[in-house]
């Protein structure tokens, strides 16, 4: 009986036996990092060239199936032209290669069966990209379909997956790897760069998606960097390029002996100090030296490319990772983070946990400034205690932790201090600044200054926005912040931690992520002036609509600069 691939009951006994044996074998293996499988560069031309050229002199028989996800981004990037140019340049290398085309997301995915008429494949690709498809597409299912096509041809079976948009829509990644391994198919992947420990979909658990798929998207098998800090408008995780592909695609390449190539459009490599905040120190002309990443450091901090369960097992026995997750959990309980970690730490293991929100402190929902100040100071004390405890745990166990875990844990230490500073600024603002104005609305100020907010109306709460830390903490020494010497003292503590972190991790995704946070500025909010709702007149609708493919929401993307990828001076083409 044919069951869908995603149903565990369809998995043959041989799979389970193999999985058990493989897992046992893997326990003793050293970690497999995404850096081993990810090629440098951010262009289209080089990956296509390398994949078409193959690894030999072109005399060995080969069947190469292009698995195309014809998204608008891929069409705009000029993939059709680049492919045709590579076909022309590599004609000699392709003399013993049959090409085929499988299109992800189509009812009939096989567009061109294996053929020596390479121009026909180029023409078919061009036709597909002439009408690109937006929305979610299951590229993992397409890989399984393509594997069946590849093994029908002659010689070595190779797939080239080209998907700039859909690597984050997972469909049983490890099962797909097994199928591809079973058929001895190599998968080369060309995709977009993932975001560091991406929390985007974790924040949107109700996003509609195709049946039996999961939306993940980060560079690692799990979100291994805390996100949702109190008083940060947007998680830095969602603004930070990782230098690697989404974990699922890296896993596919790693599991089949393939490679991962990354692509970025030139507009993605521009610098923005803080996309959802303000920068006090430049007019958008910042060229931070930290943006030129160090390849060796990026490789050192790479995520694991192993099966998800193996990653959880490895991380679960990492003492620094365990300490970080425990601190993260407690910080969420204290209301310092909006989201608890998606991981549960057991005796010596880690396992996925259901999404859990952090405690809400209710610091901003009222204009009761004295109460808000008191609560903020308590939370600031909690932050200091957690910060110090985690710092000493890192000190004690740092040598036993992986480089990535140590980077994430130290990030949490710095962020706890930043959160503490922001809470103390808030407490001072509630205690000193806001009452100063609301208690004395006729207070005079000299031109050009005017009252900082509307003191005639009664506030109902408080809001805030972030002032970018992209230029570091030191420029803030000259900035007037509420709280006087006490806040200045915390600012110096933050500067020490921040500078030391950037010294170690500056030219890497982790340093980048740290700079995408901010010190905070507050202002009161007021009840809205509303009119009564318009009367809704119901009406019946007779047209029937069919099921609609869930649409992928647009999001702000970024890529590690420069466009040639993280380098120490050289670069891809």
């Amino acid at each position: 009986m044919n069951r869908p691939l995603h149903s565990p009951r369809s998995w043959p006994p041989a799979f389970w036996a193999t999985a058990v044996l493989c897992s046992a074998a893997l326990l003793g293996q050293e970690e497999t990092s995404a850096a081993r499988y990810t090629e440098p560069g951010r262009t289209l031309a080089r990956p296509i060239d390398l994949v078409l050229a193959g690894k030999g002199d072109g005399s060995a028989e080969r069947t190469l199936v292009v698995v195309l996800d014809p998204s608008p981004g891929l069409a705009a990037a000029g993939f059709a032209d680049a492919f045709d140019a590579a076909l022309a340049a590599r004609a000699h290398s392709l003399r013993a290669t049959s090409l085929a085309l499988v299109v992800a997301g189509r009812e009939t995915p096989v567009a061109v069966e294996p053929t020596r008429d390479h121009a026909a494949v180029g023409a078919a690709i061009r036709r597909e990209l002439a009408s690109p498809q937006a929305g979610f597409v299951n590229v993992y299912a397409a890989l399984v379909d393509a594997a069946a096509v590849a093994v029908r041809g002659e010689g070595q079976a190779v797939l080239m997956l080209v998907s700039l948009e859909n690597g984050d829509l997972e469909d049983q990644v490890d099962r797909t790897v097994y199928e591809l391994q079973r058929r001895e198919v190599v998968v080369e992947v060309l995709t977009s760069e993932a975001t560091l420990a991406d929390s985007y979909w974790a924040r949107r658990p109700n996003q509609q998606r195709p049946r039996d798929t999961e939306l993940t998207g980060g560079d690692a098998a799990l979100i291994d960097l805390p996100w949702g800090f109190l008083l940060q408008r947007e998680p830095a995780n969602e603004l930070t390029p990782s230098g690697y592909a989404p974990w699922g695609l890296t896993r596919i390449a790693a599991g089949t002996g393939g490679r991962v190539f990354l692509h970025a459009a030139s507009h993605q490599t521009g610098h923005e100090c803080l996309p959802f905040g303000t920068c006090l120190f430049c007019s958008g002309d910042h060229t931070s030296p930290e943006d030129r990443w160090n390849s060796a450091l990026v490789a050192q901090l790479a995520p694991l490319a192993e099966a998800r369960d193996d990653v959880l097992r490895t991380r679960g026995s990492d003492p620094v990772f365990r300490a970080m997750v425990k601190t993260w959990t407690e910080a969420a309980k204290k209301g310092l983070l909006g989201q608890a970690p998606p991981i549960k730490i057991g005796g010596t293991t880690a396992s996925p946990d259901r999404p859990r929100q952090g405690r809400r402190l209710g610091l901003f929902s009222t204009a009761s400034f004295a109460r808000n100040a008191q609560q903020a100071l308590k939370a600031a004390r909690d932050a200091a205690a957690l910060r110090d405890r985690l710092a000493s745990q890192i000190e004690e166990h740092g040598a036993d932790g992986s480089a990535r875990s140590v980077a994430a844990a130290r990030y949490l230490v710095v962020m706890l201090q930043l959160t503490r500073l922001n809470l103390m600024i808030y407490a001072a603002w509630c205690r000193d600044e806001a009452p100063k104005w609301f208690d004395d609305p006729d207070r005079e100020v000299g031109a050009p200054e005017i009252p900082p907010f509307d003191v005639e109306r009664r506030p109902s709460g408080v809001s805030y926005h972030n002032l970018a830390l992209c230029h570091g903490v030191r420029p803030f020494f000259d900035v007037e912040l509420p709280g006087g010497d006490e806040v200045q003292g915390e600012l110096r503590v933050l500067d020490g931690l921040f500078s030391s972190y950037l010294l170690r991790y500056g030219k890497s995704p982790f340093g980048y992520a740290l700079r995408k946070n901010g010190i905070v500025r507050f202002h009161p909010t007021y009840p809205g002036i509303s009119k009564g709702p318009a009367r809704r007149r119901p009406k019946s609708e007779l047209d029937e609509q069919g099921p609609v493919t869930p649409r992928r929401p647009t999001r702000r993307g970024s890529s590690s600069a420069p466009a040639s990828g993280p380098t120490t001076g050289g670069g891809g083409r």
């Binding site: 030296p289 600044e433 050009p448 009252p451 900035v479």
Partner: protein, 449 residues
């Protein structure tokens, strides 16, 4: 009886009127096209603009009939008009033009057919059009028509057309024509025919032609560096044509690079300065910046302004080392731009140099005020307040913007309405506004202590 023939009269009158009107229109288009060939430039430009504006429906037919009879300058204007026609209109017209005995007319038709075939993918017609273009190049009057045909060609002509162009090269052609031809040839070490033809040019009486030929050979990695250096060092008028030919060269020979860098102090116009900067900056931004820094205080204000503009553009791509070196430049503007370059990279070590530059007189003060604003520094505020009273309105305006930026950055928890100060950089009397601002700044400093 009257009622019987009156409608006939009206109908006949109407028909006559329509016929007359049509005749006038035909005559009108034909007349305008005739005027394209007028001796008087004003007359032909007027006719051209009118045809362009009105786009009469019978333009393609009339042009086809009269194109060959027009003098050369008229045909050039007609060719521009043809470019505005739709693909359908041109399809039939070009088919006839391409068979003309007149080389330039044939080239116009061939160019249109080539563009069309690139869209439709018709290889057979494309090959015919290329052949027609090549024959037009071979047959044309090189001094009168070749330049116009080159405009029809586009940047990268087919090999057949290239061969035809190479066949027309000769040492007694004008430098302008030689330059245009060579810009359309791809320098290659494999093509012996092109090399021979270009080497023949290097014996031309016209030294500008020799410079262009030698520069082409340099781009083709032939050994022509020393003769080119000797030529441009001896004759300054050969520099500009050589530079035009060298544009796009992937990498310049180090000897040639040195020789070109030495040319900076001898440049005669801002256009040459811009061209030389564009040629050398991609490979040697820092060295070019040093040369420009030496020119920003030039006695010739056009050269000084040109150098300042180019240096501002280049400042973004200076290495840290060069930027720090320029902080010690004798030219204040160079120091200011270098400091700004470092500031963008979170290095504020150039601030003292900018503060110092603000205290010296010169055309750099406006840029200095702007850069001080970008530093968002407390130290800069008193200096900026002084610059707000400068004699130059541009300095005052930049300083005012800078003060606003700085205050908003240093005091993010305060709110400002700068219109309440009533400061206008254009006002003759600014004393009250200045006093208000100084008083305010003093109060802020007191609060800080």
């Amino acid at each position: 009886m009257k009622r019987v023939w009156q409608p006939w009269v009206i109908a006949i009158a109407l028909a006559t009127s329509i016929h007359a009107q049509s005749s006038d229109e035909r005559t009108d288009t034909a007349g305008l096209i005739e005027r394209l060939g007028a001796e008087n430039a004003r007359d032909r430009n007027h006719a051209y603009r009118q045809l362009q504006r009105e786009r009469p429906a019978d333009l393609p037919q009339v042009l086809e009939a009269r194109l060959e009879a027009l003098p050369h300058h008229g045909r050039q204007l007609a060719s521009n008009l043809l470019r505005n026609l739709s693909i359908e209109q041109r399809r039939h017209l070009d088919q006839r033009l391409i068979e003309s005995d007149h080389p330039y007319v044939r080239a116009i038709g061939a160019a249109g057919r080539i563009r069309l075939c690139q869209q439709t993918g018709d290889q057979v017609e494309h090959a015919r059009a290329i052949e027609a273009m090549a024959s037009a190049v071979r047959a044309c009057d090189v001094r009168v028509e070749l330049g116009a045909i080159l405009q029809e060609l586009g940047a990268a002509p087919d090999a057949l057309v290239v061969d035809a162009l190479v066949g027309r090269l000769s040492p007694d052609l004008s430098s302008s024509l030689v330059g245009q031809i060579l810009q359309r040839l791809q320098p290659s070490q494999e093509d012996q025919a092109i090399e021979s033809a270009v080497r023949a040019l290097s014996t031309s009486e016209d030294r500008r032609v020799r410079a262009i030929a030698l520069a082409f050979l340099v781009r083709a990695h032939r050994d022509a560096v020393e003769p080119l250096i000797e030529l441009i060092e001896k004759h300054t008028d050969t520099l500009q044509p050589a530079m035009t030919q060298l544009q796009g060269a992937a990498r310049l020979d180090p000897r040639l690079l040195e020789a070109l860098l030495r040319r900076f102090p001898t440049l005669r116009s801002p256009q040459e300065l811009t061209q030389l900067t564009r040629l050398l900056a991609p490979g040697s931004a820092s060295r070019v910046a040093r040369q420009l820094a030496a020119l920003v205080d030039d006695d010739d204000s056009r050269m000084a302004d040109g150098a300042a503009t180019q240096l501002s553009r280049l400042a973004r791509s200076l290495s840290d080392e060069t930027a720090r070196e320029l902080l010690a430049s004798p030219a204040p503007l160079a120091r200011v731009l270098a400091a700004d370059c470092l500031r963008r990279r979170d290095d504020r070590s150039g601030l003292p140099a900018v503060l110092d530059a603000a205290s010296t007189a010169g055309s750099h003060r406006a840029e200095t005020a702007r850069v001080l604003g970008e530093f968002r520094s407390r130290e800069a505020v008193p200096v900026l307040l002084g610059l707000m009273d400068d004699a130059n309105v541009k300095v005052r305006s930049h300083a005012w913007t800078a003060v606003q930026k700085t205050l908003q950055s240093l005091y993010p928890f305060r709110r400002f309405d700068f219109s309440t100060v009533d400061y206008d950089p254009n006002a003759l009397d600014r004393s009250a506004a200045m006093a208000t601002l100084r008083r305010y700044w003093k109060s802020l400093e007191r609060q800080r202590r």
